[in-house]
Subunit: 294 residues, 2 copies
């Protein structure tokens, strides 16, 4: 891999706004990859996709306090700016936006962007306020970085759909691109939180992928009942001693509303704590076309 | 007054986004005046201010359903597009954005911009959801019209402050300009709702201005007690038989929090129903510099 030149680092909103305005005046399109740092191969794939699609690639690195609950891992979330900068450079990032929390949130911050439908089920029910924090920071980053397009991983399946809905509802002039999940060799979806797993937990964490594979196989075999698929996935997760299921759901692929029958594309979605570390994974399932009964 | 050429009317978000992108590529600045139509001299003054400050002036005309409560006057709010277009043309408007409600809000619209502090007192307490609707539609209009600056009337004193807070908190790249209140000869602040007033109500409506004048005079005379000023204003409103006070408040000029003593600049703010029509008015009061005691 070619090492590209060091990206330009900007740590405040106003200089970033001026910098991207220059890019746009020069006729260059801007692609944004919002991240919380701790960049892994999944993030790199997002940066590469932005690199293909936009003239100027901006990566934001910001551990957003407002999307963490009071008992969550904000304080301990991995931060390694030097390593992240090396990854950004290697993938051809032009600009890195790396603000302090105090720069992005005034002490009397009082404005929130709240998506109230797509964000309600799944992670939304277990993490109250999470998607409000996500929408608020993404809206801020869009206003600061003025991207033509922004790339998000499909691994955060609900987040991607919530952001698409926000962009549609608020008429944000940004194309939202969902990038494929990148997995470890054994199928575990890449996540900055995987580094919390000790070897035993890491081994058990394969159950998420296994549960999704089993559900997909059942759908291929003709299973169309959502409840049966949920029971199947729950059973697979239950095979691991340190796995605690948060949810195993079959929902509409766009609105994330519960479905009873697998008709159009659905999302099979899982959240599981493995020895205390919360992991999510999901897969879109589409039943094969069946002969229409005459 | 010179009649300028007819403005270009655009009624959907995407063409408007393309149109303002052209303006910006050509190096022209864009000024937006968001209105609900029924344009009067107050609105015209906003358009003139935008005309002075920006190369391209956009006026949006949209009676926003989400800022009206269920028992409010959304259905009956005055609409007169032909007359509004004439006013826009006379004041030198370049583009008019005039969408249908169905174009701006999808049936499953679910994303809201919610300012939770500055919007809480005054009109916010009597009109739940009002400022959420205002912030949401203004955010949408900013994303659609991409203005460099936007002009709002100081007559809607709380709205102006809520929007400033939203712009700050969400890092919107828009300069918010507050324009002076335009008044009728007898002091009544211009409002599209003044046309609801019959002659008797119209006469009684002068009490808002009179109450603010009395409060300002009392401050000039040395009154520094907020409660005394509220009682004074309440008394003036009570002089009119068909006037029902909603609030008479003395609040911090920026945060709109209640104050006990007049120290820095405060806002004296009134909401009064005159024979059923809700009117608001306000004035910033600043005590004269006093000799500092030795």
């Amino acid at each position: 891999m070619t090492v590209r030149s060091e990206p330009e680092v900007i740590d405040e909103p106003a200089p970033m706004q001026r910098r991207v305005a220059e890019e746009r005046r020069a006729g260059r399109t801007v692609g944004l990859v919002p991240t919380m740092g701790a960049l892994h191969e999944g993030h790199r794939s997002l940066i590469r996709l932005a690199r293909q699609r936009a003239d100027t690639v901006v990566v934001s690195i910001f551990v957003n306090p407002t999307q963490f609950g009071p008992d969550e891992d904000y304080e301990h979330y991995p931060r390694d700016f030097e390593r992240d900068m090396a990854a950004c450079a290697e993938e051809g990032t032009d600009l890195v936006f790396h603000p302090d929390p105090g720069t992005l949130y005034a002490p009397d911050h009082s404005t929130w962007v709240d998506e109230t439908s797509v964000s309600a089920p799944l992670c939304g029910s277990g993490r109250p306020g999470h998607f409000r924090g996500v929408c608020t920071v993404v809206a801020k980053l869009f206003h600061i970085c003025a991207p033509d397009l922004a790339v998000f991983g499909r691994k955060d399946a609900q987040q991607l759909r919530v952001i698409r809905r926000m962009v549609r509802d608020l008429n944000m002039p940004v194309e939202v691109i969902g990038a494929p999940i990148v997995r470890e060799q054994d199928g575990l979806a890449m996540s900055s939180r995987n580094r919390y797993l000790d070897p035993s937990a890491r081994r058990q964490a394969r159950c998420l992928r296994r549960a999704l594979d089993r559900a997909a196989e059942a759908v291929r075999q003709g299973q169309r009942d959502a409840e049966a698929l949920k029971i199947l996935m729950t059973g697979v997760i239950g095979e691991e001693p340190d796995a605690a299921l948060e949810y195993a759901e079959i929902v509409d692929g766009e609105t994330l509303e519960s479905v009873d029958r697998i008709e159009g594309t659905v999302l099979a979605a899982l959240a599981v704590r493995i020895a205390g570390t919360r992991l999510i994974d999901s897969e879109e399932l589409t039943p094969d076309e069946e002969e229409s009964p005459d």
